[in-house]
Symmetry: D2
Subunit: 341 residues, 4 copies
């Protein structure tokens, strides 16, 4: 009953099969193999337009490498205070971009709001070379607090970026959970809404270790590939990244896994609420942030549940994360145990 | 019959089993799992002293992160002109170290010679803050040209480093091939010879994607782990790196794989020599650099062999690389084909 | 009647004389000359303890080079939102430090408050390599809004830094104005209060172009000198920096200039208040931030005064800056003109 | 009798006058003043085409900032082994460019030869993202060994750069000495020969501290100005850089100073040769590299001459540098003294 993170889950059977399939014969290195060469087509089909795909093994790499191609070393990246790039990636953004500055802003439930974003940008005084000019906006979908931008919300942000000549990047570590929640086409919340590049996460949702940098502006590919190589993120046995990704998008595995995780989150949510928990934020993906009375929190722990306090949201707020492999029966069992106690 | 690189080989069965073994239950992320926590002990036993192990997925990451902990942004890294860090890792060293400079020197068969190294270091004029002072020496074992430093040769370099207060780093992308060739204990060519840190390669020798940064100076661990995180090389599902490494060193798998590859290289070498090829360098690991008459090179290609020209060594020099999975029977078959032609 | 900035003032006669004095004979380059070699002693006397002095030509260089010696590339620098390093130095801090992150906090009148600082630091959740740990606090004396920390206020911040093992840096671009205001000994608000290093500004207060990095922790000298050289801030004709600094601290020139500027600011303040202006912040140094009715602002402009609106403080807030050469008679003249209008 | 460097000379009277002229009234900061605004026109006239001028205080800054606008963080800069950027600027190039790599090549008397350069470039094996691709060639005029490229020699290098789509940069720390030697128009050895940008040195030739980045590709101005600011090289009292430069190019001061220095070098050369010294390189600017018998070297020192050994050229090689203020009578006096001894 480990709800500490979706990172605690193992790879899923389909991904394992894909790796096993690449366990025999030789193949060219560094992405020249047949498996790797299918990536662009597979993702172009998925997104319904031509894209360039550059896979890496971690979300931090996907985010930071993408951003290094979107901003100059003198520029600013507007993001939410809660953004992973702001809170969880050490000084990675400055490292990869050569100095670009994060410009955190607030917004409810870890989401940027278009109007507030516009007001923030309008309020920046341009003092030429002295000040840092925003060059990019970065949003997370689903957010770090388990909420999801609607297609309209992304498009509103995209319109502001276009108006102000800014790039728009999406951290999609939990992109699948967002699409599963919205029931939309992936295009609706990405390039059709003005997104230039996305880190398309798979690791948290059933892969072993792969996130795809998906470039809707394909002219960025060369720069991204240079940055990937020199930061040590180009796999020699590249097919082991590619095969995970192909399996991940085949037959909607990514969405099936995400739907399961989202559903488990709702089930867990309902159960917790029935015991008196209250929601800190809407549950739209696979993360719950709930207020638990100390006594309930203790009963949960005694029943064997693993989960983290989330002090930045308040002293009695806890995070629960579900995953592709969360066992619904275990939630029932957990309910039984804390009811009995 | 792919001799283009050892990177073309797949992962080996034992590594696949290790991954499969981690395909079920949940486990803590970022290295707190039981598998990952066995690493230090396993490698401390392997090297017969306390070490700190920080696994990453690629050799470039292992090399550059290690060096970032060994030199300042103002320092120099003395290496051979042929070194992978100098020739094959883009501007990665400067990126990770914040500006440190590679100082390439020559030497036969891609090896630094202690006397020449000492003379080079002695000849540097120290002009204080204006000039770049060497802070580290980096050697590759086995070298990029398939040769191997003896324990005495490493120790001689180590003694110079100690005398001049320099760090000594070893790029061990093919460390297993070197140990298999020398028949020595791993300690003999590392910490006992003055090496501070090594990138202990597994990817080329049967793993899917993992190289271990092994720190003999364990005080470097904190800095290395910070550099790993911010460069995006900390795996969330860390156990998939750790499990590969544990399988790799268990029951001497790393040496068995390397011995096979080395043996295949010798077999291939003998076969090629019997057809008139001449060696550009001694064959001590799993790489051959041979001079082929154009007609023989063509016959090889016609017979289905894949291999690369190596123009930096001469117009008619070719590289052949064997691996853990090289089929000795195929070398016989290749011999038959080119003999028949 | 140029109140746009203290940077609009020329060098003062004593500084010019010092340069003229170095206009003849030859002298060793790069700081080995007799003039430069007097710096450490002069500043050690000024601060009443042994210090190391490393002069550079600009405040941005002094700040960023100092910080690069105080924090790691993975660390955070806590400063006020209004800090020059946060608002006016482009992405300089990240550039010089190799990625360190500014952590801006609020406080009245551009000052950090010890209690709030401690609360901010206490609230940071340490998530190991994922999060950025504060390593340094940077304060500005006098602040960007013309206010001044008392010795007790600096000491309270210094005590927090000591308790939490953080470095304390002071941006002293207008240090002279602060000391002139407080009437204290320079030591009282620097090393005795826990400051590790200061950029001791001279440019705004009568010099041509020189700010001194003054290190109370003299062990930082080597690192600072390396950073100075590779960033192009080591003057070959170093005596032209040194001679400015020696003249600047001789016979209290720095304090005399600052006292004049501070006095002019108070005179200007009184005059403006008599016309209905209200203060946005206390006038403690040589900067005024005042609220002017649109009609008064226009009359000032019509009378020939140059000054900037300061929109970040409010729509009708304006900044006036006085300098060592502000003509008190001109303030009277200005008063006459706007009175007549 | 200080021949240690041209950096030991003071500023010249005309430069001092220019500074004195800016010693009174106020003026806008950061380059908006009238003096600074004359720079582009003055240098456009000097070079007989539209240029953009960005002044900084040191040659290292001028070189490194220029290069940061000419190459990517992944690129290579081909230069001579003896180049100042390779030997005397610490790790400045990597710092400013974000990692670009110096690719030193050999050539007689510190000069790149077009044919060898072309052969070097042709021999580079392009291995895509793995290898570093040259993006720029940097030459020094006059060179670090006191020799001068003819206009044809620069043009031949420029043609190769054009053919191979590389940028061409010129380190002109002693550009005046080169032009004075050649008797050519400044355009002949710069933009007409394919140079994209030059650091136009003044410091060594009579200025206090200023080198001008002159951009023949004026589209680079924005990037250069951003890099200047964030590296702390934008003067607040910018007029003190501008006034030096305007005085320097007015009435051919720069050439008059350089002609004097070059003439003094020839006089000193003749004198030394008459005592048995032999030249290590042709004397074309204001630097001499001569072989002195130990006994002669000692007599020189006993006579009061200051000069440096130059061990990289040989054990008995010494460097003498003359400057705008070298006293010809002192060379006679020196001759008398060593003749008498």
């Amino acid at each position: 009953m480990n709800f500490a993170s979706d990172n605690v889950s193992p790879l899923c059977p389909e991904i394992l099969s894909a790796l096993e399939h690449e366990a025999y014969g030789n193949a060219p290195a560094y992405g020249a193999d047949e498996t790797s060469r299918q990536l662009d087509a597979a993702f172009s089909e998925l997104f319904d337009r031509e894209v360039a795909v550059v896979p890496v093994a971690t979300g931090t790499a996907a985010n930071c490498i993408s951003l290094s191609a979107l901003v100059s070393p003198f520029g600013g990246i507007v993001c939410h205070h809660e953004a992973h790039i702001n809170e969880d990636e050490s000084t990675g953004v400055a490292f990869f971009t050569g100095g670009a500055k994060l410009m955190p802003v607030d917004g409810p439930a870890a989401k940027l709001e278009a109007d507030n974003l516009d007001a923030f940008l309008a309020s920046r005084v341009d003092r030429g070379v002295h000040s840092v000019a925003p060059e990019c906006v970065a949003i997370t979908q689903a957010t770090e607090l388990g909420t999801v931008y609607t297609a309209d919300e992304v498009a509103a942000i995209g319109a502001i970026c276009k108006k102000r000549d800014l790039r728009l990047f999406m951290d999609g570590a939990r992109f699948a959970n967002a699409v599963a929640h919205l029931g939309c086409h992936p295009a609706d919340i990405t390039w059709k809404a003005g997104v230039d590049a996305i880190s398309f996460g798979a690791t948290k949702n059933g892969a072993q270790a792969v996130d795809a940098i998906v470039l809707f502006d394909t002219s960025l590919r060369g720069r991204v590939e240079q940055a990937r190589k020199r930061s040590g993120h180009l796999y020699s046995k590249h097919r082991y990244l590619a095969s995970q990704l192909l399996a991940y998008v085949k037959d909607d595995l990514w969405l099936r896994n995400a739907r399961h995780a989202n559903g488990a989150a709702r089930t867990l949510c309902d159960m917790l609420v029935s015991h008196g928990a209250t929601l800190a934020h809407a549950v739209e993906g696979n993360e719950l942030f709930v207020r638990l009375a100390p006594e309930l929190a203790q009963r949960m722990r005694d029943a064997g549940a693993l989960f983290h306090p989330w002090p930045s949201l308040g002293a009695d707020i806890y995070r629960f994360v579900t995953a592709w492999n969360t066992d619904i029966a275990q939630i029932s069992e957990l309910n039984d145990r804390i009811t009995r106690n």
